[in-house]
């Protein structure tokens, strides 16, 4: 096997993951999280951006934002398996931060191999963060799909809108996908560059912020062209396995939190003179949730390991991971609310925070069925016309 049996998840990966778990538990447990993001229940509230910037600075100091940056660029150069471990813990804590957004952008920049991309990675090493602005209005990041156009050169000018930009109000840069006659390019733009307007979205997930970002004659710093026109779509495709895998890791962590929280409730909530976990209508679906999480988790590490050691299998493995994680997220969320009963249907019961984060994750970068259709093309060949 080209892959190490242990997914490359050895002692150091375990240590970092355990440290992250302790950190989130100590600094952002369930009640702290509720305090941080759950204050305003009004469904018509304006978009919010609730996070703990002090805590974030600690995370930056711990080096967790530069794990995926190569060593030669003064990053840590961790394996994808190691990064997945951290993302799992962030998902478990439903932690509000640009951690996932930034690591996804890092993988795209790593795939660029240009000086512009290296400069952007240098910004990450300096403690800044970047989020991808690569999705169009109908939700696609593939092919030449984008609603931002690029024109001219030195400087290239961007016009249009990027949608579904994650944690847009928390980051320092956007990595923008824009198309011109010469093809798709990727451009690094400071969030406060002239002509950039961040329009926050009203979203369900209370643990993130999302925006569409408008570009009006935004001049790109020539030193910040991460992928020249014609190269951008290939770069994104190359980085997608990592993006799918890390998004799936977030879901796996959140799913495990949902499982353990629901199991704890089932062990303690008494109805009909039994803890409700006595009843198989509760017990067995919880077991089924556990199995789905285990499936998804195994596939996440398999995909991470493929990224690290067997790159020609990485896309296949990553589609498997996110497909399973997305369906698992739906199932785990559904049962967590249902088994918390009337209490679970109230705002004050904190399970809706993970639930809504999972809904967000489920549909980002493709749901279960999307990934299965990609896999079908890979495994069975395209559909005959």
């Amino acid at each position: 096997m080209a892959q190490p049996k242990d997914f490359g998840f050895g002692t150091e990966e375990t240590m970092l993951r355990d440290e992250a778990r302790r950190f989130f538990k100590k600094n952002c447990d369930d009640s702290k999280l509720m305090e941080l993001v759950g204050g305003n229940s009004n469904p018509n509230r304006e978009p919010e951006c609730n996070w703990d910037e002090k805590l974030w600075n600690q995370i930056v100091d711990l080096g967790w934002t530069i794990l995926a940056v190569p060593e030669e660029l003064e990053g840590i150069g961790s394996s994808a398996a190691c990064v997945a471990g951290l993302m799992e813990e962030a998902g478990r804590a439903a932690f509000p931060s640009p951690l996932l957004a930034n690591v996804n952008a890092t993988y795209v920049l790593n795939a660029c191999g240009t000086d512009g991309a290296k400069k952007a990675l240098g910004e990450i090493v300096d403690g800044n963060t970047i989020s991808l602005a690569i999705i169009n209005k109908v939700g696609s990041w593939e092919f030449a799909d984008t609603d931002v156009s690029a024109s001219g050169s030195d400087p290239t000018t961007l016009d249009g809108t990027s949608y579904y930009v994650q944690d847009a109000q928390k980051v320092d840069y956007f990595l923008v996908k824009a198309v011109s006659d010469a093809g798709v390019g990727l451009y690094v733009v400071p969030v406060d560059a002239p002509g950039v307007t961040i329009v926050p979205d009203r979203i369900h997930d209370l643990t993130r912020d999302q925006a569409h970002v408008e570009f009006k004659s935004v001049a790109v710093d020539p030193a910040f062209v991460a992928a020249p026109a014609g190269k951008g779509d290939g770069v994104i495709e190359a980085a997608m396995p990592a993006i799918h895998t890390m998004t799936a890791a977030d879901m796996v962590g959140a799913g495990e939190w949902q499982l353990q929280t629901t199991a704890e409730y089932a062990r303690t909530r008494v109805q009909y003179d039994h803890p409700i976990g006595f009843f198989q209508a509760v017990k067995h679906p919880i077991v089924d949730v556990m199995i789905e999480i285990d499936h998804a988790r195994s596939l996440v590490y398999n995909a991470a390991c493929a990224i690290d050691h067997e790159p020609d299998q990485a896309a296949l493995c990553a589609h498997m991971a996110q497909s399973t994680a997305s369906d698992m997220a739906e199932f785990a969320s559904n049962r967590s609310v249902q088994f918390h009963g009337g209490i679970g249907f109230t705002w004050e019961c904190f399970i809706h925070l993970h639930f809504k984060r999972q809904v967000h994750n489920q549909v980002l970068y493709g749901d279960g069925g999307y990934h299965r259709s990609k896999l079908a093309d890979m495994v069975m060949g395209p559909i005959a016309a």
Binding site: V138, H204, V363
Partner: protein, 419 residues
């Protein structure tokens, strides 16, 4: 081979004609502009409440509400005519009646278990909506397990002193009265319960507190109700002390069977429109199909993806199957066990709703992260994700899906009790 099996009795036929005529001559006023409370999200406005209450009163005075109740308790003294009125109200697209708790189960419970005083005093104003009602059954530790009541009523002379808390109380913010189950004896679970009618509004801010409870969606939709040394007279008791459980069973039976006086807002539109449109057209216009035609996935329209088509059709078949099962429930020759279909209505309807919105959420794709949507991709006025989040109200309230399956297994199939 005709409609004989569901044909009207002469009384029903005459009454149906009367209802049609009355509804042609009597219309609700214009729908209020402000329907949502300005201060509590998700709570309806006073304007809408007043509008609905006025319409219920008018219909009551016209003889369309409570027509099967005895005349001495404010009813119309008819036999099996309420469903005729309900059908005609639905066909006329009547607005909803607000006094839901009273109409679905409260009035029937009082009729079966109330003293002469109670029946005369309360039923007429339930029907006319002069007094609004809510239900005080659920408690923090009595959700599925209704008998596990902790709200305590202590006898003091001719009065009862009530302490405790109710929760998930719909209409608590509007109600004058509550049907209330309490514990009066801690040594017997089921035999230690007693049932009352309880004047909550007149004691608000004194011995009763009603607090809106925020749902997972952020909307207010029900309440917590607290009693602190609340004193009510013994004449508000139904049946004997210690028989509250059997009274509660009556209430739950009517709640489950959707009683005899469903609010016309519920399901009425579906009945009315199903009559007019062939099935194929109705399905082609369904929100899921519409959504798929306006959503993209993997470089094409979602409606051109066979896997999505398969799942949409599965959903539409289930919806059709459900309505055909309701239709079959009224055909004697095709029902082996009379409780089998009624028992499954709540379970199937709520799970269909949840599965439909879960599918829509997935088809809508990245847009499902958003709280807002464009009109052509909406579902009943909200996003699919919002509908999905709200759908757990259906699978949890009034007996969770798990409790429903117990009851169906026990009552329709004779399986042993699981508790």
């Amino acid at each position: 081979m005709s409609e004989k099996a569901v044909a009207d009795t002469p009384e029903q036929a005459e009454y149906r004609a009367y209802c049609k005529e009355w509804l042609a001559n009597n219309k609700p006023g214009s729908y209020p502009k402000v329907t949502q409370s300005a201060t509590v999200p998700g709570q309806k406005s006073q304007e809408l409440q007043d509008y609905q209450a006025a319409w219920q009163k008018k219909c009551y005075e016209g003889g369309l509400v409570g027509c099967d109740f005895p005349k001495e308790y404010g009813g119309g003294g008819r036999t099996d005519c309420q469903r005729v009125a309900n059908q005609e109200l639905a066909l006329a697209l009547s607005p909803a009646f607000p006094n839901d708790t009273a109409l679905r189960m409260g009035a029937f419970t009082l009729l079966e278990h109330g003293s002469e005083y109670i029946k005369k005093r309360f039923i007429p104003k339930m029907l006319s909506c002069e007094e609004m009602w809510c239900q005080g059954f659920s408690e923090p530790n009595a959700g599925s397990d209704v008998a596990n009541q902790e709200t305590f009523a202590e006898k003091q002379g001719d009065n009862w002193v009530i302490n405790g808390q109710k929760v998930w109380t719909s209409n608590g913010e509007w109600a004058d009265w509550m049907i209330l189950i309490t514990r009066t004896d801690r040594s017997h679970k089921h035999k230690g319960l007693t049932y009352f009618v309880n004047p909550i509004k007149e004691n608000l801010g004194k011995t009763v507190e009603v607090r809106p409870l925020i749902k997972i969606t952020g909307d207010a939709g029900f309440n917590e109700v607290f009693f602190k040394d609340m004193v009510i007279p013994d004449k508000y008791r139904l049946d004997e002390v210690g028989t509250g459980w059997s009274v509660a069973m009556t209430t739950l039976k009517y709640e489950r069977d959707a009683g005899g006086m469903v609010s016309p807002g519920v399901g009425g539109r579906a009945i009315a429109s199903a009559a007019a449109i062939p099935l194929s057209e109705m399905l082609a216009k369904s929100p899921l199909v519409n959504l798929a035609k306006n959503s993209h996935r993997n470089g094409k329209k979602a409606s051109d993806d066979s896997a999505i088509r398969d799942r949409i059709i599965k959903c539409l078949i289930r919806q059709t199957a459900f309505s055909q099962t309701l239709r079959r429930g009224a055909v004697k020759g095709l029902v082996d066990n009379p409780s089998r279909i009624p028992l499954q209505i709540k379970l199937v309807a709520s799970e269909n709703g949840q599965n439909t919105s879960a599918l829509g959420l997935e088809i809508a794709g990245a847009a499902s992260t958003l709280c807002t949507a464009e009109k052509e991709t909406m579902y009943m006025g909200s996003t699919w994700a919002s509908a999905y989040i709200a759908s757990f109200g259906g699978t949890i309230a009034e007996g969770t899906s798990e409790i429903q399956r117990n009851q169906i297994g026990e009552r329709a199939l004779g399986l042993p009790k699981s508790k």
